[in-house]
């Protein structure tokens, strides 16, 4: 299934909760959650660990808006809005961790 996160990992526990509960599948980081996908962030270690269990995607326009498109953690794949739609259709279910 697809897990969608939209909050910064250093300001909210949504991504932590997702990683605690979900065992595998795909994660899409959007809005302020894109900070989690950036190298040097205190959350980087948790993302690297999570990449062993999940495919992790990050929404490119949200990265660009925040000036961080040049420092995505290796293994995390940027997607555009079309890719976002594809993820919602190829996964049977979808959970937004609001």
């Amino acid at each position: 299934m697809l897990h969608i996160i939209n909050k910064s990992p250093l300001a909210n526990n949504a991504l932590d909760s997702c990683l605690r509960v979900a065992q595998s599948g795909e994660i899409l980081l959007i809005e302020d959650a894109v900070y989690a996908a950036t190298a040097g962030n205190a959350f980087e270690g948790k993302i690297r660990k999570a990449l062993e269990r999940f495919r992790i995607h990050v929404l490119q326009p949200d990265l660009e808006a925040r000036g961080l498109a040049d420092r995505v953690i290796e293994g995390v794949s940027p997607v555009d809005y079309g890719g976002f739609v594809d993820l919602t259709t190829t996964n049977k279910t979808c959970q937004s961790w609001l």
Partner: protein, 121 residues
């Protein structure tokens, strides 16, 4: 003016995900019009407001980051960023789009104690 107060604006939210950062900027500019002693502080995710290279075309939202560079024109020159917040986010002073003073958490706390008015965003 005899009645100048020390105003501090504390910014702790990332831009775009919520409206706080933009609203803070609006209030800061209003305060500047009253010739007060204004300090801006960036803590936690608030430091992301000052990240260079923001391009918001893709999210169809106004890029308000150039406004931080215009603050100087309104005599707002006291911008403070917490060192620990930068470090936790892998952001360096060179990554910021405007000149700031980087303070450690204790110095930041001391500066906060000196204010007459503290407004939090």
């Amino acid at each position: 003016m005899s009645n100048i107060k020390k105003f501090m604006f504390v910014n702790r939210k990332a831009p775009y995900g919520t409206i706080y950062a933009l609203e803070a900027l609006e209030v800061v500019l209003i305060t500047a019009a009253f010739d007060q002693d204004v300090s801006l502080v960036f803590l936690d995710d608030g430091v992301y407001q000052l990240k260079k290279g923001q391009q918001t075309k893709g999210i169809e939202t106004k890029n308000f980051s150039p406004a931080y560079r215009a603050l100087e024109g309104y005599d707002i020159e006291k911008l403070y960023v917490e060192k620990e917040s930068l470090e936790a986010r892998g952001i360096s002073e060179e990554d910021l789009l405007v000149d700031v003073t980087v303070l450690g958490r204790a110095e930041m706390g001391a500066l906060m104690d000196q204010q007459d008015v503290v407004l939090s965003f």
